[in-house]
């Protein structure tokens, strides 16, 4: 028997670490989502599929949405700081060993890449602004007319998006004092979770911005299509089918990375195994299995597979489930990770 007592009583630290509340998980979710959107829209540009006249509405809106979401994420990050007035000190130095320093500098480059991407599609996304601010329209047209610039913007969005997505995981995995986070797979896991939420957002946007003559299915339609139309045979492709297939690929990889993540922890030290059990069988097990694995990965995988096979009507339900799963993954990992610990009772 080992009995351990301590007189320490520091707020935020004891009895278990609880420093980070809703701000950091929300920031990690929004950062990953923006990373996914950047990679997908950058890939779209690089593949020369971008065409102002033929551009799909959701790809055009993505850069502007990314700017808004990333700014919201930065706000939550700022709200989490305890010494807010010193935030500018992040940009007085670069600390190669600090993922947070890497992240703050990456974000500095992400904004111009997103602005350039938004400018590229400005004329198509906001036609009224084009009339009111012809200067912006001229910049947009000159960018779009220069093939090299278009490809540079696409490339920058893919590379910076990948860096942003991986960084959101490395931010946690670099903290070796928390065994649950201490896995190199957390970076790729968050990247692919970001890609799946990014694809889900584009999918959602494609439903919210239907083409002329098409209606957006409501929630009751979505449920009805799941229940009634699942045996319908595959029909002609539409714009969202590729997004569904892409999202399914990302979700499958995310599931494999989760399995490898736990495999790595469970074959490591006792501290790592105890950390993994917090999610597998411990206090976070129920929300983890239900919201992350069940409704966040497996159910949307099934629904999108049936949608891609044209057995059920394409709806925004799987996209919402994927977004909820991505959000739950960050909240659960941040919460459980803080509770995982090397035991100080055993010298």
């Amino acid at each position: 028997m080992i009995e351990y007592t301590t007189t320490r009583h520091n707020p935020g630290v004891d009895p278990i670490l609880h420093l980070w509340g809703w701000e950091i998980p929300l920031y990690l979710f929004l950062g990953g989502l923006v990373a996914g959107l950047m990679i997908l829209s950058g890939y779209h540009i690089l593949r020369s599929r971008w065409d102002r006249d033929q551009a799909q509405g959701h790809y055009v809106t993505a850069p502007l949405l990314s700017l808004a979401l990333l700014s919201a994420g930065m706000l939550t990050l700022f709200l989490d700081l305890e010494h807010k007035l010193q935030v500018w000190r992040l940009y007085l130095t670069f600390r190669p060993a600090s993922p947070m320093s890497w992240g703050s500098w990456i974000l500095l480059f992400v904004y111009p890449a997103l602005v350039a991407s938004a400018l590229l599609t400005l004329a198509a996304s906001l036609p009224r602004l084009r009339q009111r601010l012809p200067v912006l329209a001229r910049v947009s047209e000159s960018l779009a007319g220069h093939n090299g610039a278009v490809h540079l913007i696409g490339f920058a969005n893919v590379v910076l998006g990948a860096m942003l997505g991986i960084y959101t995981g490395v931010l946690l995995s670099a903290l070796g004092a928390r065994p649950l986070w201490n896995s190199a797979l957390l970076g790729p896991l968050f990247l692919f979770s970001g890609l799946s939420t990014g694809a889900a957002t584009l999918h959602l946007l494609s439903h919210l911005t239907p083409r002329a003559g098409e209606g957006s299915p409501g929630f009751s339609d979505a449920l009805a299509s799941v229940m009634v139309n699942w045996l319908r045979p595959p029909s002609a492709q539409d714009g969202s089918r590729k997004l569904e297939q892409a999202d399914n690929s990302f979700l499958t990889i995310e599931l494999a990375l989760l399995a490898l993540f736990f495999g790595g922890l469970m074959t490591s030290t006792l501290a790592h195994q105890t950390g993994a059990r917090l999610l597998l069988t411990g206090p976070w097990a129920a929300p983890f299995w239900v919201f992350v694995v069940g409704s966040g990965i497996l159910l949307p995988l099934l629904l999108q597979f049936l949608q891609a096979q044209r057995r059920i009507q394409s709806t925004w339900v799987p996209a919402l489930l994927v977004l909820g799963g991505g959000l739950a993954l960050r909240f659960i990992l941040v919460g459980a990770g803080q509770a995982s610990h090397w035991s100080v009772a055993l010298p």
Partner: protein, 179 residues
């Protein structure tokens, strides 16, 4: 080069918390927080129970994860003695160092910066012992230069069995507990 370390004799420590009070007084630690604390670990079954009482604080690690993860350089290693310190005005309060410390030795000061034991660097630079060491009624705490083979701490480590906390974390802590 000097290498400041602390050696604590767990056979002499009675857990009186004089070191805790001395630290709070010397460093004006805000009410409800502590830079050092007392732990008790009891092992075994009656009647063969072993009890170890330890005065704990920041371990001023030779491989400090709190310094590596700091994005602004506020957490740093002092050029003299290798003491790990925080420059308050450089700290943004991101809490990465708190999460990086396997000993949970840091906390956020009500003014917003990360705070922790400094080995009373202001006293050490004047040639004095840290406040906790100077007030210990059982003289179980020793402070000195590990690079000086004639120092008290070097001689204690050479002659007495000792251990550090969580050596498996790889942080190379600089507080040694004599057993």
């Amino acid at each position: 080069m000097s290498r400041n370390i602390m050696v604590i004799d767990t056979r002499r420590c009675v857990g009186c918390q004089d070191c805790v009070v001395a630290c709070q007084t010397e460093n004006d630690v805000p009410s409800g927080f502590c830079r050092d604390w007392i732990t008790e670990t009891a092992r075994g079954e009656y009647p063969t129970v072993q009890l170890e009482i330890r005065s704990e604080r920041c371990n001023h690690c030779a491989n400090p994860p709190c310094v590596h993860c700091c994005p602004t350089g506020a957490s740093h290693v002092h050029e003299r003695g290798g003491v790990v310190l925080v420059t308050h005005e450089k700290c943004i309060g991101c809490k990465a160092c708190l999460a990086a410390c396997p000993y949970d030795a840091r906390f956020i000061h009500p003014k917003g910066y990360a705070d922790k034991c400094t080995f009373c660097i202001h006293r050490v630079e004047r040639g004095q012992d840290p406040a906790c060491v100077s007030v210990c009624p059982t003289h179980c705490m020793h402070f000195g230069d590990a690079d000086d083979p004639l120092s008290g701490v070097s001689r204690l480590l050479a002659t007495r069995p000792h251990h550090t906390l969580l050596p498996e974390a790889g942080t190379k802590p600089r507080i040694y507990y004599l057993t």
